[in-house]
Amino acid sequence: MAFENNVDVEHPVHDVRTEAIKNFENKGFPSKKEEAWKYTSLNSLQKIDFSIFPKQDNAIEYKDVKKYFIHEIDTYKIVFIDGVYSSNLSETTHDGVDICLMSSALTKPMYKQIIDVYFNKVASKDESLTTLNTAFCREGAYIYIPKNKMPKKPVEILHFATGNEASIMLQPRNLIIVEENAEVQIIERHQSLTANEALTNSVTEIFAAKSAIVDYYKIQNDTANASLIDNTYVDQKGKSHVKVHTFSFGGKLTRNNLNFYQNGEYMDSTLKGVTILGEKQHVDHHTLVHHIEPNCESHQDYKGIYGDSSTGVFNGKIIVDKIAQKTNAFQKNNNILISDKATINSKPQLEIFADDVKCSHGCTIGQLDEDAMFYMQTRGIPQKEARALLMYAFANNVLESVSIPELKARINKLIAKKLGVNLGFDL
C-alpha cells in the first residue's frame, strides 16, 4: 500500500506538476503589458516576501469564526486554516457523495481513476497563475456527486488565514465533479483574520455532466491586506445548468478569472456578480464563455458600485464557434460611481463565428439617478437612505437568482452594512 501511495498514484500528478512548474518558469507572473492584465497590477504583491507553507499548524475556535459560516442553516463544511485542513471545524461526508479533501483525492488509490480523468483537465495549462497553483497546490475541496445524487445540504468551503505568519501565500485547489442529473450547492469564502498580508491563488475546476445542476457562490469580503486571485474553470455538458454568483465587497486586490466551456447542447451558464467597493479596493472580473456547440444559452449580469478611490474592471469575453448556431449569449455590466476618484474599466469582447445567434451586451457607467433621489427625498427618505435604497434596487436583480434564502439574507445584510444603512427590510 505504502508503495502504491507514494509512487503509482503520485506519479501522474507529479508529471502534471513538473510540466506546470516549467510553464510557470517560462511565463512568470503576468504583467500589465499583457492585454488581460492591463488594469490589474501584481507588482506590489510580488514585492512582499510571502511564506508559501505555514511553519506551524494553527488552530482557531469555532466561536471566533462562526460569523463567517452560513450558520443559520446546516451545511457540510470543508475548512482550511492557513491552507491546512481543519478537521475540528469541518464536516465532510462519504455518504453517497464525496465531500472531502483534495489531498486525499490526490493520494488515495481509490480516487486515482477520477483524478486521472478530471484533475487539471479543464484548468488552463499555460495561464501562468493557474500553472503556479497546479505546481504547488496541496489542499482544497474535493466534491464528487455521483449520478442522480444530491447532497442533503449545501457545502461551504472556507479558507482562513490566521495572520500568524507576517504574510502568507495560499494555493488552494478545488475539484468539483457533478455527474449526470446530480446537483450541488457550494459557497466559497476566503477570510483573513488579521490585517497581515495574505495572497490566495486559487484554482477551482468544475465538471457538470449531462443534466447536472451546479449552484456556486463566492463571497469575497476580505480584509484590507488580503488579495485573491480566483481561477475557476467550468466544463459543462448537455442540458446542464451552472450558475456562479460572485459577491465582491472587500479585499485589497481581487481578480476573478471565470471560464465556462460549453461542451454540449441545450445548456445554460449563468455568471452574476455584485461588486461594492470603497477605499482603495480593486476588483477585476474577467469572464469567458465559450459556446462550442449549438443551442445553448449564457447569461452574464455584473453590477458594480464603486466609492472612494476604488477601481473595478469588467472584461467579458464571449466566443461563439462557427458550429454553435442558435446560441443565445447575453451580457450586462452596469456600474455606478459614487465618488469622483473611483474608476471602472468595462470591456465586452465578442468573437462570434456563427451566423444564427442572438448576442447582446451592454455596459453602463453612471451616477445615481438624481430625479429618483429627489423623488424619494420628497417622501421623507433622507439622502443617505435614499442613495442606499437606490443601490439596493440596482443590485437586486442579481440577488433574485440566489437559491439559498439564508445566503440571500446574509448577502442582503452585507450589502446594507457595506452601504452603511439599516433599511429595516430585505429585498
Binding site: 429627489f374 420628497t378 417622501r379 427618505i381 437612505e385 435604497l389 437606490l390 434596487a393 437586486n396
Partner: protein
C-alpha cells in the same frame, strides 16, 4: 400655512419664477393654472426643495418657518408632499417596502419608533382600498411598468399614507381617464380637512370639477397674473390663456 413672498428662482442662470406671491391657509384648496412653460411645475419643485432650482430672492415659509435651508426630506417630515407629474420608476423596490421606509423615516425624524408591522399593513390596506388599488399592485416595483393612471393613483396613495399638511398635486390629472380621475379626486377629497391644504397645479379645468378650489391663480411668465375664485377656471376653459397674457403685458 404656506406663505410665498416675492419668490424668484432660476435654473442655470435662467430665471423662471419672477416674483411669486401666494398665501395658502389651512383648510383651503388652491388651483394654479397657466400655459406650458409658465413656471407652474418649477414652483412645485421649489416648494418641495429641489436643489436644481436656485432661489435668488424672496422666501417660502411653512407655518412661519423659512424653508430656505431645509432639505427635501425635512420638508416632507414637516408635512410637505409633492405628487409628481412624472413619478420616477424605481425597479427592485416594491410599493410596500418603499412606503414602509418613507413612513418609518418620517417617524424617526419625529423621534418616534418604527410603526409596528401590523399597523403598517392595516394602514396600507385601508389606503389602498380608498384608491381602489389592487393588493397585487403593492408588491410590484415602484412605478415600474405602471400605466400613467396607475402612477398617478399610486402618488395619491402615497399622499394618503403620509398624511401631509400641504399637498401639491402637479398635473395629477394628466394621463388619467375619467374613471381614474374620479377615484383620484375622491381620494383627495376624503383626505381634505380643516387642518391641511392642497395646491392643484393643472393645465385644464377638468380636475377642478371634482376637487373644487377655493382660489384659482394663473401663472404666466413666472408671475401670478390673476387670482380669483373657481369661476376663473371656467373662464379660462372658455377663453384660453391669451387674454391673460395680454393683460399681463398691459
Amino acid at each position: 400655512m404656506l406663505t410665498i413672498k416675492d419668490l424668484h428662482a432660476q435654473v442655470e442662470d435662467k430665471e423662471i419664477l419672477k416674483g411669486i406671491n401666494l398665501t395658502v391657509n389651512a383648510g383651503e384648496v388652491h388651483a394654479i393654472m397657466g400655459p406650458n412653460g409658465s413656471g407652474k411645475s418649477t414652483l412645485a419643485s421649489v416648494i418641495a426643495g429641489k436643489e436644481e432650482f436656485e432661489v435668488t430672492k424672496g422666501s417660502v415659509t411653512l407655518e412661519g418657518e423659512d424653508l430656505e435651508d431645509i432639505s427635501p426630506e425635512d420638508r416632507a417630515h414637516k408635512g410637505v408632499f409633492l405628487s409628481f407629474q412624472y413619478p420616477v420608476e424605481i425597479p427592485g423596490v416594491s410599493v410596500t417596502n418603499f412606503m414602509k421606509t418613507a413612513i418609518n423615516e418620517t417617524r424617526k425624524a419625529k423621534g418616534l419608533e418604527d410603526m409596528p408591522a401590523k399597523d403598517m399593513l392595516k394602514m396600507i390596506r385601508d389606503k389602498a382600498e380608498l384608491l381602489e388599488i389592487d393588493r397585487k399592485f403593492l408588491s410590484r416595483s415602484l412605478n415600474q411598468g405602471f400605466s400613467g393612471g396607475e402612477k398617478k393613483r399610486n402618488e395619491i396613495f402615497q399622499m394618503a399614507m403620509l398624511e401631509p399638511k400641504l399637498a401639491i398635486l402637479d398635473e395629477t390629472d394628466s394621463g388619467l381617464d375619467i374613471d381614474a380621475l374620479r377615484i383620484v379626486a375622491a381620494g383627495v377629497n376624503k383626505l381634505k380637512s380643516k387642518d391641511n391644504a392642497v395646491i392643484i397645479i393643472t393645465h385644464y379645468q377638468r380636475l377642478l370639477d371634482y376637487i373644487v378650489p377655493d382660489f384659482v391663480h394663473v401663472i404666466h411668465n413666472g408671475k401670478i397674473v390673476k387670482s380669483g375664485t373657481k369661476e376663473l377656471a371656467l373662464e379660462l376653459e372658455e377663453k384660453g390663456y391669451d387674454w391673460l397674457k395680454n393683460e399681463a403685458v398691459v
